[in-house]
């Protein structure tokens, strides 16, 4: 992790919907190659914040740059330079493995010749060469998640946003997935990840915890546990999120 190179910089970033402040002046930096855990209760404002950072929603006030691009004026450059994967939506089930890679590679503008080689290399890496022409819906969930992740970084983005990537996945596959995350971060791609599994929060270099639109805590898991006198990140989370006022609305 190179600590001198921030790839996400947010300063007082705010989003209001009418009189409701969904995200309330959040400020933080994420460094290149870092695994950054973005935690918070349902309704705390995580999704709204992620939408701003991925160029899908214009902030009400504050500043932010992602991969060096401004979230107000350079949304298309942001989209071209990030990857995104969620548990809910990632792959087209009615396309084969190869077609899915081809489709996403095309969207990200990878030249055809290069893409062809990339597909073969990727299939080999995932040990899925024999499944190249299998429909994605016929793949076990764990394989789908790994494929979706590989596709999300096929264009070598500076940052990849992972929105609850491991929800419902079996415990062994979940751990294999985190090894992929770790290796990807080591290659220099920054990981911005949300999860409801608190053991996964421990795998992050740093985590932030949002409560009622604000970042209430941000640090290394080990430091947060010390600060809140907690034995696990689950304890830390519960202590902070119990204070939420709007989580229950």
């Amino acid at each position: 992790m190179n600590s001198t190179e921030p790839v996400i910089i947010a300063k007082d970033l705010t989003k209001k919907f009418g009189s409701f402040t969904a995200v309330d002046q959040i400020s933080f930096e994420v460094q290149r190659g870092e695994i950054f855990g973005f935690l918070g209760a349902n309704g705390a404002g995580k999704t709204t914040a992620m939408r701003m950072l991925s160029g899908l929603s214009i902030p009400t006030s504050g500043e932010a740059t992602v991969a060096g691009y401004d979230v107000y004026h350079q949304q298309n450059q942001i989209k071209a330079n990030i990857g995104y994967m969620s548990q809910k939506f990632s792959l087209y089930e009615d396309l084969t493995v190869r077609e899915n890679i081809w489709f996403y590679g095309g969207i990200y503008g990878i030249p055809k010749k290069e893409l062809k080689q990339k597909i073969d290399a990727l299939l080999h890496e995932l040990a899925m060469t024999e499944e190249a022409n299998t429909f994605v819906r016929a793949l076990p969930l764990g394989w789908r998640q790994k494929l979706a992740f590989s596709i999300a970084i096929i264009h070598q983005p500076g940052i990849v946003f992972l929105d609850e990537p491991t929800g419902g996945v079996d415990p062994i596959t979940r751990r294999q997935f985190w090894e992929m995350i770790y290796n990807t971060a080591k290659s220099g791609i920054t990981i911005f990840v949300t999860t409801h599994y608190m053991d996964e929060a421990e795998y992050c270099d740093r985590v932030s915890i949002m409560v009622d639109g604000r970042i209430e805590a941000l640090d290394k898991p080990s430091i947060l546990k010390k600060k809140y006198n907690a034995s696990s990140m689950d304890d830390v989370f519960v202590q902070l999120a119990r204070g939420a006022k709007r989580g229950n609305s």
């Binding site: 209760a41 079996d170 062994i172 409801h196 696990s232 999120a241 939420a244 989580g247």
Partner: protein, 311 residues
């Protein structure tokens, strides 16, 4: 006393084109009166198919299921009167308000909110400030509470909850389990599924399910005790580095990350092997480790069973 749920050789095979997909096979289980019974397993394990058969929404391919001694195939009308089913995906009408949803589900069972207010009161009180809000605009935790109210409004005696806490944050999950505990105290029989292994310990008994088959049924503590060998937690500031180092040590059998620790088992036959592991790690330049023997959790057992199944 009547047993609320009995499955005998229950199975379901789906036909997809010319291929047969076995979703659930040979399930034998009984759930007792007033029990909080957990179905623990990942997505695709067959939990939802099992729920659909038990709630009379799907006809089994093999075997049979009895709910209060009534057959789910022949007696489905009677069964539907006294069971409550909360499906996995949020199943309320997003465009109706909180109150309208509840009213709708009450009407389906020819009853009213007022007649059953006592049954839902504890949970509904938390929703009342938002009773005119559309269901689609509620937060995750509140949606689950409303869905539970709608499931309870006709006063069922058996509850089927399919992954009620999936995608819900840890605080709301804890609150939801508090509600289940309260319902159980009032005498409700509850069958609940979850992919979160930490929720297993909150059930009276659990069934671990994978690939349509039950791997184990017992109380959470008995399941933990059946791990059958020593389990060690090894902690270091550089977890992933430690994980790779452990994999290179021949006497290590399994090693998995668990939050800030790595859970390790050692191949049988060597008494002082954990000391040897410590020495081997030191030789690889990792000396800041903390090793302690720990009690296995449900997730440890589940992964152990998964591996044995593969092997």
């Amino acid at each position: 006393m009547i047993t609320p749920v009995i499955c005998e050789g229950l199975g379901k095979v789906y036909q997809e084109k010319k291929k047969e997909i076995i979703a659930v096979q040979g399930i034998n289980l009984e759930v007792d009166q007033g029990e909080l019974f957990g179905l623990i397993g990942p997505d695709g394990a067959g939990k939802t198919t099992l729920f659909r058969m038990l709630t009379t929404l799907m006809i089994p391919t093999t075997g049979k299921a009895l709910i209060n001694d009534l057959n789910t195939v022949g007696d489905f009308r009677k069964i539907r009167q006294f069971i409550g089913y909360m499906p996995g995906r949020f199943s309320l009408y997003q465009d109706l308000t909180v109150k309208e949803n509840l009213h709708f589900f009450a009407t389906l069972f020819h009853t009213t909110i007022e007649a059953n207010y006592e049954q839902i009161k504890d949970i509904y009180i938390q929703l009342e400030p938002f009773q005119n809000r559309r269901a689609g605009k509620l937060s995750g935790g509140m949606k689950q509470k409303l869905a539970l109210c709608c499931t309870l409004v006709h006063q069922p005696s058996i509850l089927f909850l399919d992954e009620p806490t999936t995608g819900v944050d840890p605080v709301s999950r804890k609150e939801f389990w508090q509600m289940l505990k309260k319902l159980k105290k009032d005498g409700m029989t509850i069958i609940v599924s979850t992919p979160y292994m930490d929720e297993a310990s909150l059930c009276d008994r659990i069934a671990l399910i994978q690939d349509g088959k039950i791997l184990k049924i017992d109380s959470p503590s008995t399941v933990s005790n059946q791990f059958g060998r020593s389990l060690y937690a090894i902690e270091s500031d550089h977890s992933f580095h430690l994980l790779h180092a452990l994999r290179d040590i021949p006497m290590i059998d399994t090693c998995f990350s668990f939050g800030n620790a790595i859970h390790v088992t050692i191949k049988t036959g060597d008494q002082n092997s954990i000391e040897k592991v410590s020495i081997a790690l030191e030789q690889q330049g990792i000396s800041d480790v903390k090793i302690s023997e720990i009690t296995p959790g449900i997730e440890d057992v589940f992964m152990d069973l998964l591996q044995k199944q593969v092997a």
